[in-house]
Symmetry: C2
Subunit: 246 residues, 2 copies
């Protein structure tokens, strides 16, 4: 694992998940795509060698389910249950989605992550692995004026112009800053659990990501993410439970 | 496991989950309550003896994380990752929930599950383990007139008047009929994955449950559940990915 995906003292959780996702994919030749993935973060990961252990639980026709662990020095960093399938083989003519596509201003009116101060880029080199153009109404937290609504939305694409694929969505759902920034809580928000559903292969082009929270209580909050592709298809949904910054 | 929790050819998934949840609780003396639970359904369960295998991954101060399997005849029925904690020890004064409590008509204006035809009660004895009073605007599917909105809401309490507790919420989030009934799709909708967050101990009294779906595509749909208690506290949230009825 590379230090280039670090955020503060640890490696980004979505990065770890997509890496383990690739190992699960390698273990399932007929089921190449993540469909449902649930990740529990056990201990902080560091840059360096890593081992993936994948154990099939059920390999069927349409889907296969596995248990998998990401380990360093025999310590579990991340434990996962996941169902994989071949998204190309799923029915394509039954879309009845009522969710509304994320509405974003044109990209030239949004606030790019490249404007982040140098100390942020050094503290979190992860943020330079992609272009992220924030909705101008939801970036006030960067200058001490959070909206208080609990929502952060952005355009997103990988920095090396690689097109999005199902595995990269496992990283994308954890790429935005914690939605608690928009509530004025600027600290680190460790993930307890993150479950993601990949519902279609993303079309080439920019993605739109949105984080929202509606239930803050007991020192924790839920963070819902939607990922829409360039054809207005809802390609991934995720929910995580995270600890409120102290 | 008892036949009294059967729905058609299988035992209810939430019932299995709360049963395994009780075994996880027994393995974690200092962390009695489910906080985040992710369940992957591997094979159909039957009434009869069952074994729970629980493997701790990390036991910390605030939370503990385990992997667990429910097995019959050495076959895995249900594989789970879960984080447990002591809900009473979590901060109680930081509730900033913006989600709106489920609005329901008075119970006497709702449609009770006891009105179900005898053949439904025999096919699904599960439905007689609780009182469920449906919102009158969202029960049209029972008489061939689904609303088409993708939402089912109900009052809920256990049939034996036992008050709700955190473990029972793992069953409650899977107790409503599939939300696809409200879209006119009346068949069985097998769960691929269900993740639930228990955010507070429910107060005594009736619960309100709501199922919603917003993304139907590729032969699958997501089903979000909220559980509100008698004090207007959002005590549990869940999301499942399920297969559309054929």
């Amino acid at each position: 694992m590379s230090d280039g995906w670090r955020v503060g003292g640890g490696l980004n959780g979505g990065y770890q998940l997509s890496l383990l996702g690739n190992a699960m994919r390698a273990a399932l030749p007929k089921h190449p795509d993540p469909v449902a993935v649930s990740a529990y973060y056990i201990s902080p990961a560091e840059a360096g060698p890593v081992t993936a252990a994948v154990r099939p639980l059920r390999v069927g026709g349409r889907t296969a389910t596995v248990a998998a662990d990401l380990k360093q020095d025999d310590e579990i960093r991340l434990s996962v249950l996941a169902t994989y399938g071949d998204l190309d083989s799923f029915p394509a003519d039954d879309v009845r989605t009522t969710a509304e596509p994320i509405a974003m201003p044109p990209r030239e009116e949004c606030v790019p992550n490249t404007l982040a101060p140098d100390e942020v880029k050094q503290m979190a080199p992860f943020t330079q692995r992609f272009e992220m153009l924030f909705h101008p109404d939801e970036i006030g937290w960067a200058v001490g004026k959070p909206s208080g609504r609990g929502q952060i939305t952005a355009w997103f694409r990988l920095a090396d112009d690689r097109e999005p694929d199902p595995l990269s969505l496992l990283m994308a759902v954890d790429a935005l800053p914690p939605v608690t920034f928009d509530l004025g809580l600027m600290g680190w928000a460790p993930t307890v659990e993150l479950s993601a559903h990949v519902r279609a292969k993303p079309a080439p082009g920019w993605l739109r990501l949105r984080h929202r929270t509606r239930n803050i209580a007991g020192g924790m909050f839920e963070e819902d993410c939607e990922v829409w592709d360039s054809t207005d298809r809802l390609v991934a949904q995720s929910r995580q439970l995270a600890l409120l910054p102290r």
